[in-house]
């Protein structure tokens, strides 16, 4: 089962992304988190009891109030178990190439995508080997 976690404070973009994902993978399980703290709690639980058959795709926005995307990545970094199929993607509207570089500085980040995600993006992500 493909499980998607959308972390973005903008609910509209979460909605758009959810629709795009459904249009490509109608049976996907999608969870939306609109704040970093919520997302952190969720990911903490997820890392401890996770279904080994599922694939996790976690989309994190950079620009969020309080704790931004990069800070969240730093916090959850140590908790990520190696054996679990889990791909992190940084999704941003940023135009700064420095953001892209910074995103790839995290070894467990699989990709960087510009908002809004397109059907093409989802297809590519799903085709990626875990």
């Amino acid at each position: 089962l493909n499980r998607f976690v959308l972390i973005d404070d903008d609910e509209l973009i979460n909605y758009i992304h959810r629709q795009v994902i459904y249009s490509v993978a109608p049976d996907a399980d999608i969870v939306e988190k609109t704040s970093s703290s919520e997302a952190f709690e969720y990911l903490k639980v997820l890392s401890s009891n996770k279904n080994p058959d599922d694939r996790y795709f976690i989309f994190i926005d950079i620009n969020m109030p309080e704790v931004n995307g990069f800070e969240l990545l730093e916090k959850i970094g140590p908790m990520i178990p190696q054996e679990k199929a889990c791909a992190f993607f940084v999704v941003s509207s940023s135009l700064f190439s420095s953001d892209r570089e910074k995103a790839f500085s995290f070894p467990f980040v699989s990709g960087y995508r510009e908002k809004p995600l397109s059907k093409q993006d989802i297809r590519e992500i799903l085709q990626q080997p875990m």
């Binding site: 903008d10 509209l12 973009i13 758009i16 992304h17 629709q19 795009v20 249009s23 620009n63 509207s93 940023s94 135009l95 700064f96 190439s97 510009e114 908002k115 809004p116 995600l117 397109s118 059907k119």
Partner: protein, 762 residues
Amino acid sequence: VHIFQLNQAQFVICTFYSAGSLVPSQTQASISMSPFLKKVEKILTPKRDALENTPELDILVAKGNSLHVLLLILLFFYAFAFTIINYVQGNTLDMLLTAIPLPVVIFEYIIYKRGYPILSKVLNMFHVTTIVGLLSMIHSPSNGVLAFYIPILVGTQLTFFGKERIYAHVLTVYILLALIFFLTIDFQFKPSLTGSKLRIDLFVNLFGAALATTFEILFILSVSNRIQEDLFEKSAQLNIRNKELTAALGENQKQTNLISEQLKIIQESQEDLAKLSMIATKAKSGVIITDAWGRVEWINEAFSKITQFELSEVKGKKPKEFLQPEGVEHPGFDLLRNRLKNQEFVEVVVPNKKKDGSIYMNQLEINPVFNEKNELINFVSLQRDITEELNRRDEVERTNRRFGLIIDQASIGMWVWMPATNEVIWNDVLINQYGAKRSEIEHNLYQFWQDSIYTEDRERNANNSIRLVNGEADLIKDLYRIIRKDTGEVRFVQTVTIAERNKNGELKQLLGISQDVTNEKQLQLSLENKNAELIRINSELDSFVYSVSHDLRSPLLSIKGLLALVFDTPNIEPQVENYLRMAEKSIRRLDDIIKEILEYSRNTRLEVKEEPVDFRLLVEEIYDDTRFIVEKDFCFHLKLEEPVIFISDRSRMQTVMRNLIGNAVKYRRRQAEPSYVECRILRKDGTIVIEVADNGEGISDKNLARIFDMFFRGSSTGSGTGLGLYISKQIVEKLNGTISIESKYAQGSTFRVTIPDKKRNA
């Protein structure tokens, strides 16, 4: 008859004899008119050799000899003949009388021959005629003819006094008269001698003899007087000469004494030795040595060189007499006079006069010299012409004054502290800097200064002073705060303090300058504040731009996403879809504008980075991004023979290249043969030249000039924002490069970017 005969004989003898005496005198007269003095000299002068050798006398003797000897011989034979006659006749007495001249003549001959002119003349004075006359008077008192001897006698003496010519004339007349008289009168009355006649004859004879003797005595006296006078004259001259000699000897003696005294002094006194050796070594110093009364005894060459006076000119004079210029007043003269009067050492500078009258400044050092009895014997004066030195000193002072003026004008405070006396001197500018009045702070400048320094700066200041005094530093620059005495305001002073040390490294003085830089400091502070403010604003702007771009773009991107969902929806009305496509296009353009504004703002704000840029990677990345939006037959060329990696700001270069390549793509000509864009790069003369060429629409000449202007759009084709080339130009200029374009309308354009080829570590 025999008497007659005798008298006749006597007369002839005497006549001849007198003539004989005359001859050398005449000769002598023709040679020298005043031989007498020389003869006297010959008697009196001790140096007779010199006089004897005079040519006059040699000639005299020689000439006299030849004639005189001849006459003497004639006379001898004549007298000899009469002596024989008288002998034969038996007149014994007459014979004796005529014989008398014979030894005399012989004696005289010997004298002349041997060259004793003096003796011959002495002999003349006791003339043989006188003897003969006196003897004949005894023999025959009536012989009046003897009276005629008198003039002969006189004439003979005259020759002694250089009156030979007169005598020669007188004698000639006399001989003629005597002959006439003798031949006429004598013969007549001789045979008839009577008693009365005898008396007359006797009287005449006696009278004549007395007269002759008197004359003789008178002349001898006259001669002796003249001799005496000459003697006096000569002895006076000799005395003078003697005195000169004595004086010279005395001078020599004195010099010798002086030298020996100096030698003694040298031996005795180490200090004087040093002084004398100083005289010797300092050959440039003039030296005068005077006696105890200040009269010059000796000067050295250096003194002559300075003043042009020679020793002979100034010897015995007082230096004052020839050195002190008339009508010039100088305090040094009084000092000199007083010290010398008290026989004290004096060192003074006075104006003096050279021989040519020019004035020079003379640095004098006069030492009185005493002997062991502590009596003043000499003054030794060292002299130096310091006129030029003084002039130079004047020049230095003038320069100093000028500097002083500059320092005052430049508002530079100056101070000096001398540790030896603990004296502190401030100039007026410094006192003004501290807002004080000299009279208020003069009594304790140091304390005032310490109190004026801003409390927080005091310790640092004190440490600086300690470092300078201890020799840890020779120069310290500092900037500290002081509190003005008058206004109480805090002022900044920029100071430089210099420690001046002697050869041994001991501190001579601390010297400082101080400048009130409060205004400059305030300016600097406000500048710094403004700078910090600007940096703050800049960073605020940075985050503002960041969040604005994000916040502006987020809704835009949402719309974009929503539109994508709409287009994905089946069965949309074509008209609606058309509207939505137009909306999407509009949104993309808005997004482009936001992107470009962001790039522009980043270029102006961010520091230029220096990092390696691989041209191939740079271009290919852009090509890859662009490839999806153009037709399949669009050609992307990259002309690169070998990898080129240059040092620049990668992000900025990316923006420029993206714009240029983007333009080539955007404005491609669709109807022509396959469109292309070609990127080239080459290193040339320390620059990197990048060219981006296409065969696109090109730019018309009228637009070419404005192509890099802000918001200028040369083409209605495509969706340009009018910012791309403007931003590119700004970036290239930020990288110290240039950008240019060659373009032909409807044929294509070539952009050329030239940037410095920096070294990797530069």
